[in-house]
């Protein structure tokens, strides 16, 4: 014969249920917090990346005389991406990770060992610039969506 549900058993069930709900709410709050932090950072990241990409494009106008400026701009882009990529998600993260890989490639040992490869280095920098401006555009659109939602 089944035992009737006593007050004590009912209390146990209720506390297990509330524990499950608490865990769910904890994860939801964590997700919301991460998304808020991410969205509030986007305008600043866009601004920083825009100014760094413009610096890089300026340096590409007079290559190879301005190679040092290009390297400095790439260094700045590297720093901004190092900080912002982990905070991003989805397509934004993939695209900016792609840019980050390209930036890293411009610092590869291949270019240091063969300083005569001026045009290859220039192509690599152009790759960084053109991929970066595409990534910045994704972030700009994401920011527009966010502003419309709030």
């Amino acid at each position: 014969m089944a035992e009737p549900i006593t007050l004590a058993i009912g209390g146990d069930i209720a506390s297990i249920a509330s524990l499950i709900i608490t865990v769910i709410v904890f994860f939801q709050v964590r997700t919301i917090k991460a998304s808020l932090l991410l969205n509030s950072r986007i305008p600043e990241t866009v601004r920083d990346l825009e100014s760094a990409s413009e610096e890089l494009r300026e340096a590409l106008k007079d290559w190879p005389n301005t190679e040092l400026q290009a390297k400095a701009a790439a260094q700045r882009i590297d720093g901004i991406l190092l900080n912002s990529v982990p905070k991003l998600a989805g397509a934004d993260r993939r695209k900016l990770k792609e840019v980050h890989t390209l930036v890293r490639r411009t610092k590869s040992i291949r270019y240091k060992l063969f300083p005569q490869n001026v045009s290859q280095r220039k192509d690599a920098m152009w790759d960084v610039y053109l991929t970066l401006v595409g990534g910045v555009e994704i972030l700009r659109q994401r920011n527009k969506d966010y502003k419309k939602r709030v």
């Binding site: 053109l130 595409g134 994704i138």
Partner: protein, 121 residues
Amino acid sequence: MPSEKKLEQLIRLLIRETTEGEISWKASDPPRSRMAGTDDIIEEYFETKFKGQEVAVFERRYKGFDIENESEYWTSGYCFAFLSNGAMTWETEDSRLLFPLFNVAKESAADVDGILDSLLK
């Protein structure tokens, strides 16, 4: 519909050639046929010839409609087009690189670098 990849390749090439001073753009008016029967406002329109082909990039301002608030609002988009004898034969807004292309075309048409160089001589 041409492949997105080819279009992106072309736009990347145009940005690079413009920045390096290989091609220059000029500000102009959009073809009359483009403006007929539309509420679009095109104030900034730039044209150039690349490998014998006339191409244009411009900003299209238009009124959008917000369904939630049931109100109109102004917005804009960037377009790229092929032309033949001054008439637009094909137009697209489908690339993330149109805004950067528009900016370099605008800089080239205004000859910003030329003006700065002559002023700083």
